[in-house]
Amino acid sequence: GAGVSQTPSNKVTEKGKYVELRCDPISGHTALYWYRQSLGQGPEFLIYFQGTGAADDSGLPNDRFFAVRPEGSVSTLKIQRTERGDSAVYLCASRPSGGSYEQYFGPGTRLTVT
């Protein structure tokens, strides 16, 4: 079946602009996660949704970052007033409900802020 998809695959924006990154999880997966991966580092947690609500947003670096999942499937990560330090690969993962703790990752969106 289809895996996690993310759009766009690449996004170049100017400092100060607003961007939206989209994640389509695997159908039926109730949990959805956003991570950020900087060059040479492992993925770093941003936010986790269980259904429509954010179960843990402790990884969001500041209030310029916001994410929504209004219908419990697709999620959008929104970044306001982008800074050069926001440049990274933004990864989305989903997980089914129940006892499996395995997360399935999408290909990521490479964000470059110039």
Binding site: G40, E102, P107
Partner: protein, 112 residues
Amino acid sequence: AQSVSQHNHHVILSEAASLELGCNYSYGGTVNLFWYVQYPGQHLQLLLKYFSGDPLVKGIKGFEAEFIKSKFSFNLRKPSVQWSDTAEYFCAVDNQGGKLIFGQGTELSVKP
């Protein structure tokens, strides 16, 4: 706070050599442990996982890992690497259902 440490940033091996990548974590409670792999140009894929039971777990492509609770370690092993194992390997831990905490990754280069 939870953290994961991978001891090697870059490992270079010849084909048929044995591989061991170190991973240590800090967390006092019950954890799930994972190794993910990222082949060049591809997304993160699960290599193997440990939730409970036998501490020696086997994954895809001949990889295995051993959970040693007393050492807070979950080292990845493969007896004989192939050129196709060239990739970046990430160790990760979660506290059962929440966020994954990743190590910084180990880049493995296998020379043919």
